[in-house]
Amino acid sequence: MSTTSADTKRSARAAMGPYGHVGKLVDELDDRFGVAKGGRVLLDKIFPDHWSFMLGEIALYSFVVLLATGVFLSLYFVPSTDQVVYHGAYRPLQGQWVSQAYNSTVHISFDVRGGLLVRQMHHWAADIFTGSIVVHMGRIFLTGAFRKPRELNWTIGILMLILAIFEGFIGYSLPDDLISGTGLRIGYSIAESIPFVGSYLVSFLWGGRFPGDIIIPRFFIIHVLIIPLVLLGLIAAHLGLLVRQKHTQFAGEGRTEHNVVGSPMFPTFAAKTTGFLFMVTAVSALLGAFAQINPIWQFGSYDASKISYAVQPDWYMGWLDGALRIMPSWEFAGWGHTIPFEVLLPAVVFPGLIFTIALLWPAIEQRYTGDNEIHHLLDRPRNRPKRTAAGVAMFALLFTLFAASSTDVMANFFHVSLNATLWFFRVAVIVVPIIAGFVTYQLCREMQGVHGIGKRKRAVIVRRSAQGEYTTVPAAPRPDDERTELDPEPVPVRIDIEPLGNGDEVRQPAVSPTGVRQVTR
């Protein structure tokens, strides 16, 4: 009796076990790496569903976009300030002396197919990267997610913000165009202003006098290798801590300090987050396709004796530019030395103070509230009016400074005197944060006191009796306001999605696995 090939196949398949090829793979991996136990835990990992938890993902995925587009750009960019004569597609530059760095960037923009798209995607993704870090940081701050045990994660996050800002500044200075070169000159002067070490610092970093010929190659390697490596390490640490300590979550039904409630890693969260990765990339691509950013060909190659009016740095440096503009000209000169306070205070001391406060905030709050408990449940911002007001005041200060960096554009737009506009901002930078903080505090207190705030009010039916008496009866709640919410339960071993029978008959489970509650929103 010879066995048929079908028999062989069937018995081979039976020998493989009930889970087929995947089961075999799991077996082999488990033999080598012990993935079965830990892997199952990973698949069951719970991610809270609230939308504000995805803001950090915007930052993560825009960083991925930056890496990918950056690799492309690094294959064309020439990090050198050697002067060459431009002979390329953009005619108004023909025959001019330009640096190699500028030349290669214009080459990418005009002569490399798809180059301009990738370049613009890279720059848009950089703005989105820093923006989403700030928004994510705001969410963490306002909900108190930085409290014990997550102080280190907060610190890592602030460090990443600082690195992201430097990375962006260095990145848009690489093309060595007129606008970014002016920013470099300003950066040089700021570093130079530091007492004792300033002139040494700039002479070492620039390899001599400004502009020198080594700063662009140095910036290139810092931008392409050093900072990305550090950022990758910090991101790994940031996410690792997140895995180890698990997410925080908002308070709610079934949510305690001892659990995490949400959707499972596999397949739900994996699908959503991968889809989100594509959408972040798509937003960078669509912006890069339809909105022009940093058109360096219009600016010309950097010449230290040329300048344009109405120049600002990229948005995440705007607050520094605003601070520099409104600062009065207090410089100390005496006993053979000069301390330029008009540069030091707004551009060195002030940002140093801001970031130090940010880094130390968990300790500051812990000292102020005396709260050394572990917290996994988040605060609602309105329940912590002082913290929320402080955060809003800080944001208002930084936003006012950012607005102050375009005093000339505003003076032009509103047809007011430039000098008056500057004085307006000198006053506003003190007044606006105070008012913002105060108003926020009052709003939070009010919101705490109002029952059912944010919820839609239940309608009321007014009845008039024959005697003329008025009575009110609450109306039935709207269908949208009532929602079935389940008790949270552990992720089941098997989620077997049965396809429906014929078309659209809905099959009710025989036994509802969990309790079902009516919840009025």
Binding site: D44, D49, L117, R185, S189, E192, S193, I194, V197, Y200, F204, L205, W206, G207, R209, P211, I214, G254, V260, V261, G262, S263, T268, A271, K272, G275, F276, F278, M279, V280, T281, A282, V283, A285, L286, A289, A304, S305, Y309, R325, P328, S329, A333, G336, H337, T338, I339, N419, L422, P488, P492, V493, I497, E498, P499, G503, R507, Q508, P509, P513
Partner: protein
């Protein structure tokens, strides 16, 4: 409860099969065929967009088609996948227990004990060795920084103070043309460099010429004037020259308002009164722009009487007035 705290989440009860109508699925899963068709259409559209991108690239079509197709395709792909996850996969709420990270008091004590006792072996018995090692490592840490920092560049010395202007250096414009009596009329302005820094054949200007020596030359109406005491001879025929480097942060001060006789720095809007020695009257600049003393040489070219009498540009620690 402490045992359960230490265990990772495990299913305690095998669950029955969950149908699409299970409360753990979203409402839209009640009609999975419809949702599936919508997502399928989205994926097909995404596919089409990518094909369009491929064609647009190879055929070198316009920029908007190239970027728009890949952007739209990525967006549709991501949207479809996300919708799949949101509408057709189990949503929850599922729970995961947090096992407390902290150990028991015994475990903590054991850890502390291990650290303290094992360190004691080093410290108490072998203090000298430990100290020598620490000293060695510390010194290494310090000297390792030397090449990392010092080799980066030269010491500043007087590089921040000295320009190339000397007595007799002729002023030239950006094309290398010498400045003469009739180059400017009152109300005119030009950027000038020392003659040897500009190559008239190629238009190439040296780096120092651009960055440090750059000077703004103006002509004011009314003939020679005195900007500050001691500078009576510095402005022949109304020509006056100032360092173009702003004393705030080094931007070139190229913005001149001739009726107001005001030089305005475009970066942070410091304003300098030209007739009074470029004294700053508004904005963050702390010091007047250094003035270059001028004279007409025997050939009728405008030349410097000598170098700047102070360091040009922004302030720094070693700067003396």
């Amino acid at each position: 409860m402490s045992d359960a705290d230490h265990q990772p989440s495990r299913t305690r009860v095998p669950m029955p099969m969950a149908a699409m109508s299970d409360p753990h699925m979203s409402d839209a899963a009640q009609q999975p065929a419809r949702v599936e068709m919508i997502i399928a259409i989205v994926f097909v559209l995404a596919l089409g967009c990518f094909v369009l991108f491929g064609i647009a690239y190879t055929q070198n079509w316009d920029y908007w088609t190239l970027g728009g197709s890949i952007g739209a395709g990525l967006f549709l792909l991501g949207f479809g996948l996300t919708a799949w996850g949101k509408y057709l996969m189990p949503q929850g709420p599922f729970v995961e227990e947090r096992h407390t990270l902290r150990g028991t008091q015994e475990e903590r004590d054991a850890m502390s004990a291990a650290l303290v006792e094992r360190t004691a072996v080093v410290v108490k018995r072998r203090k000298m060795l430990g100290g020598l090692f620490a000293a060695g490592a510390g010194i290494f840490g310090i000297v390792a920084l030397f090449p990392l920092i010092r080799s980066l560049g030269p010491l500043p010395a007087n590089s921040l103070e000295v320009t190339d202007w000397r007595r007799g250096t002729v002023l030239v414009d950006s094309t290398g043309r010498r400045v003469r009596r009739d180059t400017l009329v009152p109300g005119g302005l030009i950027t000038v460099y020392p003659e040897h820094t500009v190559d008239p054949r190629t238009g190439f200007i040296t780096e120092d010429g651009q960055a440090v020596d750059q000077t703004v030359l103006l002509r004011l109406p009314g003939g020679p004037f005195t900007t500050m005491p001691g500078r009576e001879t510095w402005t022949p025929e109304g020509y006056v020259a100032y360092s173009k480097l702003c004393t705030h942060l080094g931007c070139p001060v190229g913005l001149y308002e001739q009726e107001l006789e005001l030089l305005v720095c475009p970066c942070h809007q410091s304003m300098f009164k030209v007739r009074d020695g470029a004294v700053p009257t508004f904005g963050p600049a702390p010091r007047p722009l250094p003035q270059l003393p001028l004279m007409f040489n025997d050939d009728g070219d405008l030349a410097a009487q000598g170098p700047y009498d102070q360091a040009v540009g922004p302030g720094f620690w070693e700067r003396t007035t």
